[in-house]
Symmetry: C2
Subunit: 436 residues, 2 copies
C-alpha cells in the first residue's frame, strides 16, 4: 500500500525529532500501522537554518498555508505551537478535509471546542496525545482505557521544569531563583519561564485532562492557577520534616456541586508514588470509581518523547484512515452530544488541607491567638511545628498543618491571623492533599 | 440507537463485577460509547447460587454454548477462565461471527495464535485488556500509545499475590510460608497458590506483553519461570541493607541475538519507582527507544478493577462496531503479516547481575577461594557483605552482588563454589536488575 503523506508545520525541536523518529523506526512503525508514514513537505520560518534532522526528500517551504492547501497532503502535523497562526492553519486544514495531529496544548486548551466542532462537521480526526505529558499515553489511557469508570479526580505533575526546580530544592537545599537560573542556562526552562513556573503550561494540560476525564467542554479560563514562586527552601525542608514532599500539581475533581480545576504547589505524603517523581519526569494519578488509583509515568517533554506521542497519533490516524467518523473515538472521550454542563467551582468553595508558615514574634500567647482564630473558623489542626529563632532574629517560624477546610474559611482565618500584632508579614500558605 | 447485546460466559467474581459496573455507570458509559451496553444473557455452572450482582432481566442458562450460538448475541464476554472449555467457546463464537472480549490470560497466552488467526479469517475483534494487570490499560498503552517506539524491554510486577507476600516479608519481616497461609485465609491467594507464587500466572501475562511489545507470536512454553518460594526473610533483609528491594518480575528484552522471556524474583534499586509498588498493586515499566522509561501502575486484580478493563474493551468494540477489519488495531499490535521470527534466547545466554547468599564455615581462606572462582569465570564483584555467625552456629552468611554476567558463567561458578568443602549446602541466587 502507498505511504501516507504527512505535511509538517514547524521544524523546531519536536518537528525534527518526529522526522528522525519516523526515519529511524520506519520499518517498526509500518509493521504496526500497515503503511509507511512519510513526511513529504515541511514549513519552517527560515529555510537556511541548520536542522537536527535530515530533510532530504522533503519539500521545504516558508508558507505553511501552502502545505495545508496542498491536495497531496493527507495529514497535517501542526508543531508550530502557540495560539496563532496555529489556530488558523488547523481550521483551514480541517476545512480542506485533512486529518490533523497536533502537540499544541495552548491551542487545544483555548480553541479546542471550536476546532473539534469544525472537525466534526467535516468528519476528520484531530489528535493531540503529545499535547499533554509528552510521551506518556495519558490521553489514550483516560479516553479509551478507563471508559468504564466515573473518574473521581486526577492529579498530575505535568510540567517538567517546575518539577525539576522543586526536586533540586528538595535534594540539594537550593533556592528557587538559583535553580531557575541554572535551568534556563541548561535550556530546560524557557528564557521567559512564566509559562512553566507560573503554571500556565500546566493549566493548559489540566484543561484538556479534565475535559476527557469528566466529559465537560474545555474551560481554560476557569482554571485556578498558582505557580511555585512562593515556595521557599525552608518550606521544602519543613514539609520534609513533617513527612511530605512539595510538588506542583494540576488537579481536577468531580464533586456534586461542581468541578474543581486547579494548578498549585501541593504537599503530598512522602510515601505516595507521585511524591517520588523527580527531575523533569511527569506522572498523572487518575482515580476511577471502578479501577481505583492508577498512575502513568514518563518523560513529559523533549524531542524524542514528544515525537513518540506524535507518531502514536499518526499511527492511530493511519490505522483508522477509512473509518466512518461516527465509529472513531470522540475527541473529548465523550460523544459531543453528551457533554456535561456541570459548573466549575469557585476556589472559595474548594476544600483542601493546608500547610501554613507564619513568622511570629517570640512572645507568650501568640500560639494561643493563632489556634483560637483557626478554631473559630472551623479549622482543625493536624500538626504544629515551632522552630527555634535564627541567631539574632526576633521572630520564629511556626508551621501548621490543618485538616481539610473550604478555602473561604481559610481566607477569613488568614486575614485575622495576619492582623495579629505578633504575626510578621504574610503567611505562606500551600495546599496539602492526601490523594486517597 | 439500540443497546448492544452482550452474552456473558461465567458469573463469578469478575462476571458479577462487570454486571454491577455496567449497571451502575450505565449513563457514563453510554455517553462515551454512544450506545448502551446490556448484558442480555449469562451462563453459569449453577443457577441457584447467591450472586454478588442483580441478574434481573438477564436470561440465565447453564449452557454457555447456547449463548455463543444465539443469533441475538452481538458480543461474547468470556469470563470463565482456564484453557477449556473457554477455547472451544471462543472459537465457536468467532465462527459465528461474534466479537469476543475476554479476561482470560491463560487462554490468550496458550491459544492466542490460533484464536487470532481464526478471528482474522472471520473479521471479528478479540479484545483482552483485562487479561494483563487488571485495570491498568497496559495492552492499549503499548499497542497504541507507544507505536512510534522500538520497545527495548519491559519489566512488570504483574502478580498481586506474589507482590503482597514480598511486601509483607519486607515491611513486617515475616516468612514466606506464614504470609502465604494468611493470604489464603484472607482470600487473596487461591487455595492452590502455585499459579501465583510459582510464577505461572505472571508467565501468562508476560507472554502477552512480550508479543505486543516486540511483534512476535505468543510463546508461553518458552518463558523461563521461577517463583518466590526460595526467597527468605534473610534475603529480603540483606537486600535492604545493600539498598535493594526484592520484587517478583516478569521481564522481556529485545537483544540482537534473541528475545529474553523470564519471570523470577529480582533485586531492584530501592529508589526505582517499581521497587516501591507495594501490596497487591501491579506496575509495568516499559522502555521505548524514543519515549525512554514509562511506568503504568494500578490494581492488578479484583472484581471492580478487572471489570474496568472488561468494560473498556466493550466500549472499544462498540465504538468500532461497523469498522472494516483492516482498519482495526491488530490483535498483537503488529500486522499479522509482519510478525518477527526473532528466536527466544535460552536462559544460559541471558545476562543479569546476581545476588548470591552463601553459608560458609567461619575459617580463613574461604572468601579467597570464592572470589577466585568468580574471577576465573569472568564474574566481577560489586559488593560483599559478611555477617556475624548466629549464636552457636558454625557457618556465617556471605552475601555477594555481582556485575552483569551470562547465566552459563554463573552456573559454572556456582557449581565450583558449591564444591568447596567450606561452602555449606546450596547457594541462594537471585537476579538483580538496575532497569536503566
Amino acid at each position: 500500500m502507498s505511504a501516507v503523506r504527512v505535511g509538517l508545520l514547524g521544524l523546531g525541536t519536536v518537528g525534527a525529532g518526529t522526522i528522525n523518529l519516523l526515519q529511524r523506526n520506519n520499518d517498526e512503525i509500518a509493521r504496526r500501522a500497515g503503511r509507511n508514514i512519510d513526511v513529504v513537505s515541511a514549513a519552517a520560518r527560515h529555510l537556511d537554518r541548520p536542522r537536527a534532522c535530515s530533510t532530504d526528500g522533503i519539500r521545504l517551504t516558508t508558507d505553511p498555508f501552502s502545505i495545508v492547501d496542498d491536495p497531496e497532503t493527507e495529514i497535517v502535523l501542526e508543531l508550530i505551537g502557540g495560539y496563532e497562526p496555529a489556530r488558523e492553519l488547523v481550521l483551514r486544514a480541517i476545512d480542506n478535509g485533512k486529518h490533523v495531529v497536533t502537540a499544541n496544548k495552548a491551542l487545544i486548551a483555548k480553541h479546542g471546542n471550536e476546532i473539534f466542532e469544525r472537525a466534526r462537521d467535516r468528519g476528520v480526526t484531530v489528535s493531540f496525545e503529545a499535547a499533554v505529558a509528552g510521551g506518556i499515553p495519558i490521553i489514550k489511557s483516560i479516553r479509551e482505557g478507563l471508559t468504564g469508570n466515573r473518574i473521581q479526580w486526577l492529579a498530575g505533575i505535568i510540567n517538567g521544569t517546575a518539577n525539576y526546580i522543586l526536586s533540586e530544592m528538595y535534594y540539594n537545599s537550593r533556592e528557587f531563583a538559583e535553580v531557575l537560573a541554572e535551568a534556563q542556562r541548561l535550556g530546560y526552562a524557557e528564557a521567559d519561564p512564566s509559562f512553566d513556573v507560573e503554571g500556565v503550561d500546566a493549566a493548559h494540560k489540566l484543561t484538556i485532562l479534565a475535559s476527557i476525564a469528566f466529559g465537560i467542554p474545555l474551560q481554560f479560563d476557569k482554571v485556578h492557577v498558582e505557580g511555585i514562586g512562593h515556595v521557599s527552601r525552608e518550606d521544602v525542608a519543613y514539609a520534609e520534616e513533617l513527612g511530605y514532599r512539595i510538588k506542583h500539581l494540576g488537579m481536577c475533581k468531580w464533586t456534586e456541586d461542581g468541578v474543581e480545576l486547579r494548578v498549585h504547589p501541593t504537599l503530598l505524603p512522602e510515601r505516595q508514588l507521585l511524591a517520588n517523581v523527580d527531575g523533569v519526569m511527569n506522572a498523572i494519578m487518575v482515580m476511577g470509581d471502578a479501577v481505583g488509583p492508577t498512575l502513568y509515568y514518563g518523560a513529559g517533554a523533549g524531542a524524542a518523547p514528544t515525537a513518540s506521542a506524535v507518531v502514536a497519533d499518526l499511527v492511530d490516524v493511519v490505522r483508522e484512515f477509512n473509518v466512518e467518523p461516527e465509529s472513531r473515538v470522540p475527541y473529548l472521550a465523550f460523544q459531543s452530544t453528551a457533554l456535561s454542563d456541570q459548573p466549575v467551582l469557585p476556589m472559595s468553595a474548594v476544600e483542601t488541607a493546608y500547610y501554613l508558615r507564619l513568622e511570629v514574634l517570640d512572645e507568650p500567647g501568640v500560639l494561643a491567638d493563632v489556634t483560637r482564630i483557626l478554631g473559630s473558623n472551623g479549622i482543625s489542626i493536624e500538626a504544629i511545628l515551632q522552630k527555634e529563632p535564627a541567631p539574632g532574629a526576633d521572630d520564629v517560624p511556626v508551621i501548621i498543618l490543618t485538616h481539610r477546610v473550604k478555602e473561604r474559611q481559610m481566607n477569613a482565618a488568614q486575614e485575622q491571623m495576619e492582623a495579629l500584632p505578633a504575626v510578621q508579614g504574610r503567611i505562606n500558605r500551600i495546599r496539602l492533599e492526601q490523594l486517597q
